[in-house]
């Protein structure tokens, strides 16, 4: 750690965010590696350290003898102020060295509202924020993660994007960078070569033309870059790299536990869910491999909780086998196994008991919409009876608090659907009181969290208009009025934040200017209620002559060229269009294990999809 940093640590909140030195951090000799990689997460330490992608790639890069990957997080505002006052550039936690001297800077983009933080971190590092102003090969700036599926709003700042899963792609990129650095090649030469790696999107090699109405006319590749960039996937989850050590933070982070993936992708096809479509095809990890990963990670970290990570845990084909394997040793070691993202329709009763052997965790259901009609529209194939049945089981099992997640502003939603949310919550409350086995002497608390729906690229709703802030406000008010019991507590997302998210999610390159200007005016940490400056954003849109409603609240025609149409995530556009049409008819699509609906993602994996081969008679 540099002395000037050490001097200021006494002056900031939670100084352990900036010291490094945690268990299992990787320290190497910088003179013995060819590449130094700064893995940047554009949010605070607590958020970034919880990110599984970062944990995987950190270990993966450090498994190479020729590279040293270090962690960098966005300093909180108090630390940033001091760093700027005293001219301390952004540094990496492991060595304390300034990241402007590194070879590569990689950002993980999990949500759209971190974009200003990305600019802020580049600037704090002492680097120009615009890619065209950074002339040298190193440090090269890359980004990946969920938002890379439509990176156009930040195309001017990042040299290239990694689309899809990074485990193999990252090594290909680093191999190329190492070679280009050795041969003294220019940044342009490197980028041209990088564009040939599957999954790499170099925005500077694509020209975008617009129509008069502001929509995209066409995107043209140059310098031999592929017309369509196809995302990269891992074909075998059992042999792919997975860390056996996690850096164990000192301070409390958001997800402070062992996390193991059990499968990628999702079979359900809920039409609002971007994660489902971005991560297809389904690829499962086998019971033995998951079990071994968990054992190793628990032993090396000392964590007392394991979380099995996937988009819908109960859809794992061998869940009972997996749980009995895990619980066979975890219970003795007083380790709790948590199973997030359970579906209400197939929550097996005996599992409740098993999972509660060590410690009891919370219970959360996501019916997403208040009425059956709207649940059919979004293809969330869950019925009210199932929600109530599962709640009853849970109440009998001793729970007396249930969380329900809903969305407001879903396509075709009416005020009746909004009332349905309150009614469903009320029915869950009633289910508690009519239940003869309910926990004695306790009341029930049903916590309803209603977020605002944001249409996302690569989903069947990518053409939909997001509800305007006014409409969302009216719906929130109506929901508040519809709840008549104190047993139900309501939580809402801030509407302006969802609106801005909606703008960025389906934005194009014209937004780069807005983001740059808003950041210059001091916008950062936009996903944090207390830092979000909506008025500044709106002022900036006006100055740039852009209407945010054009991006968020406008319904697109199927014939429109979308800003991300030159990126290919495996899902056929016709499939998405068809799903969108079915949504209007409230027609559901069966989940993948029942019937393959030919989304097209299996072409990425040589026609293989675990949803088909494991449970279907072909």
């Amino acid at each position: 750690m540099k002395r000037e940093v050490e001097k200021v640590l006494g002056l900031v909140q939670k100084p352990a965010r900036y010291t490094g030195g945690e268990l299992n951090e990787v320290i190497k000799n910088k003179d013995e590696v060819d590449l130094r990689y700064a893995f940047c997460f554009p949010d605070t330490y607590e958020i970034g350290m919880s990110n599984l992608g970062m944990r995987i790639l950190y270990s993966l890069i450090n498994a190479r003898d020729d590279a040293w990957c270090e962690r960098v997080f966005a300093p909180d505002v108090d630390m940033e102020e001091i760093m700027r006052q005293r001219n301390i550039p952004l540094f990496a936690l492991e060595s304390g060295d300034y990241i402007k001297d590194f070879d590569a800077i990689g950002f993980s983009l999990s949500y759209e509202l971190c974009y200003t933080n990305l600019l802020n971190m580049l600037d704090l590092a002492g680097l120009p924020v615009l890619a065209k102003d950074r002339h040298d090969l190193t440090p090269i700036v890359m980004a990946g993660g969920a938002c890379a599926c439509n990176p156009e709003p930040i195309a001017d700042f990042v040299d290239f994007f990694q689309l899809g899963e990074g485990e193999e792609m990252m090594n290909d990129v680093l191999d190329l960078l190492k070679e280009c650095k050795k041969n003294g090649e220019s940044k342009e030469e490197f980028l041209k070569k990088a564009a040939q790696i599957q999954g790499i999107y170099v925005p500077s090699l694509y020209d975008v033309e617009y129509n008069e109405d502001g929509t995209v006319k066409c995107v043209t590749a140059k310098e031999n870059a592929p017309e369509k960039v196809t995302k990269r996937i891992i074909s075998d989850m059992d042999t792919v790299f997975y860390p056996d050590k996690f850096v164990v933070p000192f301070i409390d982070i958001v997800h402070d536990r062992v996390v193991t993936e059990i499968f990628r992708g999702c079979t359900r096809g809920c039409r609002f869910c971007q994660a489902c479509f971005l991560n297809r095809p389904i690829r499962e990890k086998s019971v033995d491999v998951i079990n071994e990963d968990c054992k190793k990670l628990c032993a090396s970290s000392g964590y007392d909780e394991i979380s099995l990570c996937s988009l819908s845990s109960s859809d794992y084909s061998e869940l009972p086998e997996l749980l009995s394997e895990l619980l066979s040793w975890a219970t003795d070691d007083k380790i709790n196994v948590a199973l997030p993202s359970l579906r209400v329709d197939n929550f097996p009763e005996e599992l409740i008991k098993k999972l509660n052997e060590v410690r009891r965790s919370g219970l959360t259901f996501a019916p997403e919409a208040g009425t059956q009609r709207l649940r059919d529209v979004i293809n969330k194939n869950v019925t009210e009876a199932e929600v109530l049945e599962t709640s009853k089981k849970a109440f009998s099992g001793g729970w007396c608090a249930v969380k329900l997640y809903f969305m407001l502003g879903l396509p075709t939603e009416t005020m009746e659907d909004v009332e349905g949310i309150a009614q469903l919550a009320q029915k869950v409350v009633n289910a508690f009181y009519y239940n003869p086995d309910k926990p004695k002497g306790k009341g029930v608390n049903v916590s309803v969290s209603a977020s605002s729906f944001v249409p996302k690229p690569f989903t069947p709703f990518q053409w939909e208009a997001q509800d305007t802030p006014e409409m969302l406000e009216a719906k929130q008010e109506h929901l508040k009025e519809s709840v008549t019991t104190k047993k139900v507590t309501l939580k809402f997302h801030k509407i302006p934040i969802s609106f801005l998210e909606g703008v960025f999610a389906r934005g194009d390159r014209k937004l780069c200017e807005v983001i740059l200007k808003a950041w210059q005016k001091g916008c950062k940490f936009d996903s944090w209620d207390d830092h979000f400056r909506f008025d500044t954003w709106m002022e900036t849109f006006r100055e740039c002559g852009l209407d945010p409603a054009f991006y968020a609240s406008r319904k697109r025609d199927f014939s429109e060229v979308l800003p991300w149409d030159h990126l290919d995530y495996g899902i056929r556009r016709e499939y998405l269009e068809n799903e969108c049409r079915k949504a209007y008819e409230a027609a559901t699509t069966p989940q993948c294990r029942e019937k393959c609906s030919a989304c097209g993602a299996n072409k990425l994996n040589g026609g293989k999809c675990d949803a088909m081969c494991k449970n279907m008679v072909q």
Binding site: G10, A16, T19, G21, L23, F250, S301, K334, V358
Partner: protein, 219 residues
């Protein structure tokens, strides 16, 4: 079940890890260390750890006690070696003993505070420490409500001395550090700065050890 007292040092950048976080860190370390732990018998079983005297943020410690409860056969040396194999950089177990004294016996703590060398600093500090008007502001409870309270530190300084070496000025001071009364060395420094009208930031603060009522080292 038997109770053992683990003595550890905490030095370097890990001093910026707060007491609560050190507790979590040590809980995980004893879990990793293959020590047959005794678990509490409630709905949320967890190992029993008792830090006798929390450490202020930014302070190094040389001789800090931690009581744990174990169940099963393991020697004190094994406990020490197993722990040292899994602890993060900066924390080291120096010995493992029986708990001879009770936590109620704790009364004082001895600190060394390092300052950047400056002319007249020793004399200034001496003047401040001798005065009986050293006052600092501290969060405390007045009639059950959280308020900023003025606390007179002078009457709490049990003993102090000042010395100099080539690089720094060092103050050795014994402050209350027991279950009923506790003065953080940062509070003392605030009071000194207020008295002198200065803005001195220490280079480092080290807690040498804990003492009982008669200033006998805690065991």
């Amino acid at each position: 079940m038997r109770c053992v007292r683990i003595w550890f040092s905490k030095q370097g950048r890990i001093k910026y890890v707060s007491h609560l976080d050190i507790m979590r860190c040590m809980t995980r370390a004893v879990r990793r260390a293959d020590i047959p732990l005794w678990y509490t018998e409630g709905f949320n079983p967890h190992p029993y750890l008792n830090f006798l005297q929390p450490m202020p943020l930014g302070v190094e410690g040389l001789n800090e006690p931690l009581d744990i409860r174990i169940e099963g056969e393991i020697s004190d040396k094994e406990i020490m070696d197993n722990l040292n194999a899994v602890l993060p950089v900066g924390i080291k177990v120096t010995k493992v003993t029986e708990p001879y004294m009770k936590s109620n016996d704790l009364a004082f703590a001895e600190y060394e505070i390092y300052f950047e060398k400056e002319e007249n600093l020793v004399a200034d500090l001496d003047r401040a420490m001798k005065s009986d008007e050293l006052v600092c502001e501290k969060m405390g409870k007045v009639n059950g409500r959280k308020r900023v309270k003025e606390v007179n530190v002078s009457e709490n300084i049990r003993k102090y001395s000042l010395r100099e070496n080539d690089e720094s000025v060092i103050m050795n001071v014994i402050l209350p550090g027991g279950n009923t009364k506790n003065v953080n060395p940062m509070n003392l420094l605030d009071a000194v700065n207020k008295y002198l009208g200065t803005d001195i930031v220490p280079l480092n603060i080290v807690r040498l050890g804990l003492l009982d009522e008669k200033l006998i080292p805690f065991e």
